[in-house]
């Protein structure tokens, strides 16, 4: 444990939580217990053990991890760890796990079964920690921003210290954890020793609630879960860390792909420099900002060269994101590319340029973050804003999935993109065609349930709408018959039903979503349905709750479905209203090429969605079966208890 780094990182964070002396000692002891490496980050397995030892329910731990900012960063730095400890203490005291709890005067968190006594360690650190306590400032009102600020400020600094991300539990299979050579050796491919375990982790990572369930069943996976969660939420270095730890949000291990988290972070940073997201950041301002990252000037110069594609000496928002991403990658040890990776080309970012143009869109971007805690809220907001935001959402989804063919918003896209296009049209289209396949493939395994709701369902609905408007090609017409057949299905056989649905999913790419959604609508009406109702992302989180409280779980699962239902109604309506007028539409109205390319893209997207839904469904199936077993066991125990009590009744 490096006391200086603790002080430096805590002090450099600016605002920090306030710790009283015993807390500081205890926390620093725990910090050393968790075996921080030289860079000040903590070993994830040790942290995971610690969290388990706190004997808190996994969703609390998950929330703690999320709140303390470690998810965003993808690792536990010192401030994150301390905040996490505070939150654990709060949770153990019965306070809600929230950032405001951090400021409360709490008893020390209790950890059961820790191997080493943390008090042993703190003797080394009290002097620095005491000084640190004096520095600590806590602003209750701004505590919520604290992790963000800290991560913002420390983000750049931490990157200097950090040699590697979290060493994942499965690191032995991939490479020695502490070697920065890892990064050098990483090409942008998936070839690594731990490829198999990667896939396993991907499947685990793909749905956070599912991971929570698994955490139930396999405590050893706690580290994995936290790992995966952190990966899901990891920000700037997320792409590289994702590579290393095998769970990739979007596609193959392309470290040059910007995730949603990162994008939001970059957006915030851009706003701090230049409030108008459509404007330029001057070179000098950008220089000062990027110099803070402490990269050597020649590298920064090179990054600038790569990212300032219009060579105007200023950065637009996409260019800024590119530059920031390159800096982050560099700080994580990735060698700088000689030329701009296609995924970072501003054409990709052009889509995002459209989004931040309005505050509403910006909020949509933020809502797009895959955060479980707010997924429900997101869905509600999304459903509310559906009419207006749907198109933009799709565009942003496309940006997220890096599919910027621009097809969902045909009427809009050309207008929006033309001013931004400049000379970037060609790279954009290149990327779309070349990377669609990789994106498709890559998105299959790790797709978390929220994504299909937010992205593909919408996109698919939009596609169809647009298709209907423009005269759907004959291929799509084949999908029309099945959806009306699905609703009358009996609701009691939901589980088997879903299996059937998954089969149908294979056959009808886009419509599978809608058929499932319609069933979900119906299933939500039935309170006794637990598992099937809570299939998709937010509800799978409630699934975790449901596994604990059988009856209550249903209620939990219902609220998220309502927004789902609301959300999917318009889509289904669009579907139903769409088909009839679409049929007689004359196809020759549009150019054949445009249709063909559209079709192709839509088909590809549909295939991808299809595969995602397949994966989701199989996972859900397994979860449900587990639940079923659990329920059976409980029933058996209850019955046995009843029998035991029966002889006592007459007496």
């Amino acid at each position: 444990m490096d006391p200086e780094s603790v002080v430096a990182s805590a002090g450099a964070g600016g605002s920090f939580i306030s710790l009283n002396e015993p807390e500081q000692r205890y926390y620093s002891g725990l910090h050393s217990l968790c075996q921080a490496d030289a860079s000040g980050t903590l070993s994830s397995s040790k942290v995971a053990e610690l969290f388990k030892a706190s004997q808190l329910p996994p969703e609390s731990l998950h929330k703690v991890t999320e709140l303390c900012g470690a998810k965003r960063l993808g690792y536990f730095g010192t401030p994150q760890f301390f905040v996490a400890l505070k939150l654990l203490a709060a949770a153990q005291s019965g306070l809600p796990v929230h950032l405001e709890s951090v400021t409360a005067n709490l008893p020390l968190p209790r950890f059961v079964g820790l191997k080493n006594e943390p008090e042993m360690r703190y003797s080394a650190v009290p002097p620095s920690i005491d000084g640190q306590g004096a520095q600590c400032v806590s602003a209750p009102g701004s505590v919520c921003r604290t992790p963000a600020d800290r991560s913002t400020f420390r983000h750049l600094e931490a990157k200097v210290e950090k040699k590697e991300p979290w060493s994942p539990p499965r690191s032995p299979s991939s490479s020695p954890p502490r070697s920065p050579l890892i990064y050098r050796g990483y090409p942008y491919t998936k070839k690594r020793n731990g490829a198999d375990s990667q896939i396993a982790y991907e499947s685990k990572h793909s749905s956070r609630p599912i991971v929570l369930l698994e955490q139930h069943s396999s405590p050893s996976n706690h580290g994995t879960r936290a790992n995966a969660d952190h990966l899901a939420m990891a920000r700037a270095s997320s792409s590289e860390r994702l590579d290393q730890q095998g769970a990739v949000d979007y596609s193959d291990d392309d470290p040059w792909r910007i995730t949603e988290e990162q994008l939001e972070y970059y957006t915030n940073q851009f706003k701090t420099l230049q409030p108008d997201l459509g404007a330029l950041i001057l070179g000098t301002i950008a220089k000062n900002f990027f110099t803070k990252s402490k990269l050597p000037i020649p590298e920064l110069s090179h990054i600038w060269e790569l990212s300032d594609v219009d060579r105007d000496g200023a950065l637009t928002f996409p260019e800024f994101c590119t530059a920031f991403h390159l800096i982050v990658a560099r700080k994580n040890g990735y060698p700088l590319p000689e030329s701009l990776p296609p995924t970072l080309r501003p054409g990709v970012m052009q889509q995002e340029e459209d989004i931040p143009d309005t505050p509403e869109d910006r909020s949509i971007i933020e809502r797009l973050q895959p955060s479980l805690a707010t997924t429900k809220q997101d869905l509600k907001e999304e459903s509310c804003k559906q009419d207006v935001g749907v198109k933009r959402m799709t565009t942003s989804q496309e940006k997220r999935t890096l599919q910027f063919g621009g097809f969902p918003d045909r009427p809009e896209a050309p207008q929006d993109l033309d001013p931004h296009m400049r000379t970037k049209t060609r790279p954009r289209s290149h990327s779309s065609t070349s990377f669609e396949d990789t994106m498709k493939k890559a998105e299959e395994p790790p797709t978390p349930p929220p994504r299909p709701q937010k992205t593909h369902s919408r996109a698919s609905s939009l596609d169809l709408n647009k298709l209907f408007q423009q005269g759907a090609p004959g291929i799509k017409s084949g999908w029309f018959p099945p959806p009306p057949a699905l609703p009358p299905r009996p609701l009691t056989s939901q589980v088997s039903h879903f299996v059937n649905v998954s089969e149908k999913t294979v056959q009808q790419p886009n419509f599978a979503d809608f058929s499932r959604f319609r069933e979900e609508e119906e299933s939500s009406v039935k309170p006794e349905e637990q598992g099937p109702c809570s299939r998709f992302g937010p509800s799978t989180e409630d699934l975790a709750n449901a596994s604990k409280q059988d009856g209550i779980g249903v209620c939990h699962s219902q609220p998220p479905q309502k927004p789902l239902r609301r959300k999917y109604h318009p889509e289904s309506q669009n579907l139903e209203t769409g088909p009839p007028p679409a049929m007689p539409f004359p196809t020759p109205t549009k150019s054949a090429q445009k249709l063909l390319s559209k079709q192709k893209r839509e088909i590809q997207m549909a295939i991808r969605k299809n595969k995602e839904t397949n994966a989701v469904l199989t996972r859900l199936n397994s979860e449900l079966q587990q639940q079923l077993k659990v329920v059976h066991q409980e029933r058996v125990t209850l019955e046995s208890q009843l029998e035991l009590l029966r002889p006592l009744a007459p007496t």
């Binding site: 070179g283 220089k287 920064l300 110069s301 060269e305 300032d308 060579r311 000496g313 000689e338």
Partner: protein, 139 residues
């Protein structure tokens, strides 16, 4: 076709100089240095109008037995010097002009980079790439 390309600052110190490595580079450095006198001469002669690219392009500065030296000056008095091997098929004037134009463009890009301080040696990979392209072309 160039065997040596050099960028000289206003104060007549080199910002960037690169030669085909097989040959004696010092010779080229010397050649470039001596060509500066010729450049100065030409600049002082052309005083009147600025911004005309033809005037930026100075043309053949002087030929020697082995090579020819071409010059180009920017509005900020940054000089580009290209040394071309005479044994190669003699390049047309337009080609030399286009080479200078490319050099000027990439030099501008380097200057636009906020991380580059004017007066520093040019360490841009993009610029190196352009220059290598010109030199590789010559073979």
């Amino acid at each position: 076709m160039a065997v040596c390309i050099a960028v000289i600052a206003k104060e007549n110190y080199p910002l960037y100089i690169r030669s085909v490595p097989t040959q004696n580079e010092l010779k080229f450095h010397y050649t470039v240095h001596t060509s500066l006198d010729v450049v100065e001469e030409k600049i002082s002669a052309v005083g009147k109008s600025l911004g005309d690219q033809r005037e930026l392009y100075l043309g053949l500065l002087y030929p020697t037995e082995d090579y020819k030296v071409y010059g180009y000056v920017t509005n900020s008095k940054v000089k580009f010097v290209i040394v071309v091997d005479s044994s190669n098929t003699s390049l047309r004037d337009n080609e030399i002009r286009s080479m200078f134009r490319k050099l000027h463009n990439s030099f501008t890009d380097v200057m636009c980079n906020p991380f580059h301080n004017p007066g520093d040696t040019i360490q841009s990979k993009a610029f190196d790439g352009i220059v290598s392209g010109m030199m590789v072309q010559t073979g």
